[in-house]
């Protein structure tokens, strides 16, 4: 039993590793991405500084915390594949072309496969397109550092952010099983993630009512939750509760993914061929 579990885990580790290596072959794209993230971080930082000069405690953040929030957002943008770039893009494409057939006849869970691949990808993007722009931000603006517990909580929260965002992306990509093409849903999703992840503005700045809703949505797991843990706004039990909500979303959404995938494989035609 433990042997089977071990070989299962080593398979997923191998998938994640090979995914990491696949992304690492595109160095030029990574460097260009780091540059873009840095430029956006600088522009947003100045915008935030202007905003916080008007209202020095907007959303409950000090100005230096707000700037740190910007750079955490830039660092996590690709890590959670906020707009695109995840293993789920490949899934949508493979459903459209019918190549998904190849994945389906393998004796391995399709959901587990793409999740492992996305975690490997996320690790690559975190260590490159996450860390490098953050260093730029720290040099130019001086960022707020977390407590040791905050740093540990942040890392756990980032892993969960990737899982939650993966599950959401998986569901949108799986719509291609019925819609034949997932471009429309993907555009809708990128609008939702842009506003409700905290990338544009911290969710705590949203007006009453919308704020509570936004903080409860899975998109808050992407940037808002890890950033608040880093900034020490969630500590102790509060931090556990924030991470707990991410875990709940991860489990619920992965469960829905599994159901959708089962419905898709049983009922829907594999296109092409």
């Amino acid at each position: 039993m433990s042997g089977a579990l071990h070989s299962q885990l080593s398979l997923y580790a191998a998938i994640a590793t090979s995914s990491f290596r696949r992304y690492s072959t595109y160095t030029a794209a990574t460097l260009a991405g780091i540059f873009t993230n840095s430029v956006f971080g600088i522009i947003l930082s100045f915008a935030y500084l202007a905003l916080w000069e008007q209202n020095p405690t907007a959303g409950g953040y000090e100005a230096d915390q707000a700037v740190t929030f910007v750079w955490i957002g830039q660092a996590l943008l690709m890590t959670v594949a906020l707009w695109s770039g995840g293993s789920t893009d490949e899934l949508a494409e493979r459903i459209r072309t019918g190549d998904i057939a190849v994945d389906l006849y393998r004796p391995v869970s399709v959901l587990g496969w793409y999740l492992a691949a996305d975690l490997g990808r996320g690790l690559y993007h975190f260590t490159t397109r996450g860390v490098a722009p953050a260093i730029v931000g720290a040099l130019l603006f001086g960022l707020v550092s977390p407590s040791p517990a905050g740093a540990a909580g942040f890392l756990v929260s980032v892993v969960l952010a990737v899982v939650v965002s993966f599950a959401v992306r998986f569901l949108f990509a799986a719509s291609a099983f019925w819609l034949l093409d997932a471009t429309g849903p993907r555009v809708l999703l990128s609008v939702l993630t842009t506003f409700f992840s905290g990338l544009t503005l911290p969710l705590t700045l949203f007006p009453d009512g919308l704020r509570q809703v936004a903080l409860a949505l899975p998109f808050a797991s992407y940037i808002q939750t890890p950033a608040d843990i880093w900034l020490g706004r969630h500590t102790g039990l509060d931090m556990l509760a924030a991470i707990g909500l991410q875990v709940v979303w991860a489990v619920v959404l992965l469960g829905v993914c599994a159901l959708v995938l089962r419905a898709a494989t049983r009922k829907v035609v594999v296109q092409g061929g």
Binding site: S18, T25, Y105, R106
Partner: protein, 315 residues
């Protein structure tokens, strides 16, 4: 018990068509309809038919990635759509137009991932890798990313990949599509050896009838979702209503030869073409002709399998 058992297998697709700004009508297409056949272990079967005949749909049902609308399929004692993953360990699938390799990774890494996916014992993996690398001439390609391989090289890589876990059955969907003559020949040789030496059951769909002639003892022809022929290649020629041709070179030019059991197709100087049913023997005809004319030379032409199949479809 046969290794593959298909009984009254059917699969319908509902196609929605726009017939007006708001109106849509549904048309049900019977992609596979009451299909039945059995394949025993160790057979090499060609599964052929025109585009849209239901070949790929059948293969998808046999591998479990498409649920039948009716009838039943059993492969290696399993029900494919319900026991897809269990079945996957015992079969290999090669799609000529798709790849199971990872685009950005060297061939070797794809093989390594497959070793873990199928939990292939180290010894089996090493032996199969060694064998297939040698036979398919993949040695120098192992460290090349798949995206840099030529079509023929990628195809060989895909076949090696499909065989790493010692499948009992190998399905090949258009395995030689787009390959040059030499690559085709080598691939066929490899597949024949695989069947003879390991007893792997092969089922291949193809448009290339030379694949069938080179590999398959048995042919199943499918059209409009139903089997229209199932038997050995030789009797396909007979049943196809096709004819063999006796080409006679006479010493002198003559009027069209008039004998029983054959009719003249063409006359060109002293050479005449006589058609006779593929099931009949040529010997009595030759005797009749020889009795009445002076013959310089003669030869017998087998019907072209493409013609045979064209006639089957048009019936």
């Amino acid at each position: 018990m046969a290794l593959i058992e298909v009984r009254d297998l059917s699969r319908d697709f509902t196609i929605r068509k726009k017939t007006g700004p708001l109106r849509r009508t549904s048309v049900v297409k019977h992609a596979v309809h009451d299909l039945s056949f059995e394949i025993d272990a160790g057979e090499m079967v060609g599964y052929i038919g025109p585009n849209g005949a239901g070949k790929s749909t059948t293969i998808k049902m046999l591998t479990g990635i498409l649920v039948p609308s009716g009838g039943s399929a059993r492969v290696a004692g399993l029900e494919p759509s319900r026991q897809r993953r269990e079945l996957a360990r015992r079969i290999g699938v090669v799609f000529g137009q798709r790849t199971s390799l990872w685009w950005d990774l060297p061939l070797r890494d794809s093989f390594e991932l497959l070793r873990r996916i199928y939990r292939i014992p180290d010894q089996t993996f090493r032996r199969n890798l060694e064998d297939h690398v040698a036979l398919l001439d993949l040695g120098e390609l192992l460290d090349t990313p798949v995206r840099q391989l030529s079509l023929g090289q990628r195809m060989r890589g895909d076949i090696a990949a499909a065989l790493l876990h010692d499948p009992e059955i190998l399905y090949l969907d258009e395995p030689t599509i787009g390959l040059d003559v030499i690559s085709k020949g080598r691939l066929r040789e490899f597949l024949r050896a695989l069947n003879h030496e390991r007893g792997t059951t092969l089922m291949l769909t193809t448009h290339d009838l030379q694949d069938i002639e080179a590999l398959c003892d048995r042919v199943i022809v499918i059209d409009h979702g139903t089997a229209v022929f199932d038997g050995p290649l030789s009797s396909l020629r007979v049943n196809g209503g096709s004819s063999r041709t006796l080409v006679v070179d006479l010493v002198d030019e003559a009027a069209p030869i008039d004998i029983d059991g054959a009719r003249v197709m063409k006359v060109e100087g002293p050479r005449q073409w006589l058609a006779f049913p593929a099931g009949a023997s040529a010997a009595p005809l030759v005797a009749q002709v020889a009795a009445a004319y002076d013959i310089a030379d003669l030869s017998i032409h087998e019907p072209d399998i493409e013609d045979v199949i064209r006639q089957l479809y048009s019936r």
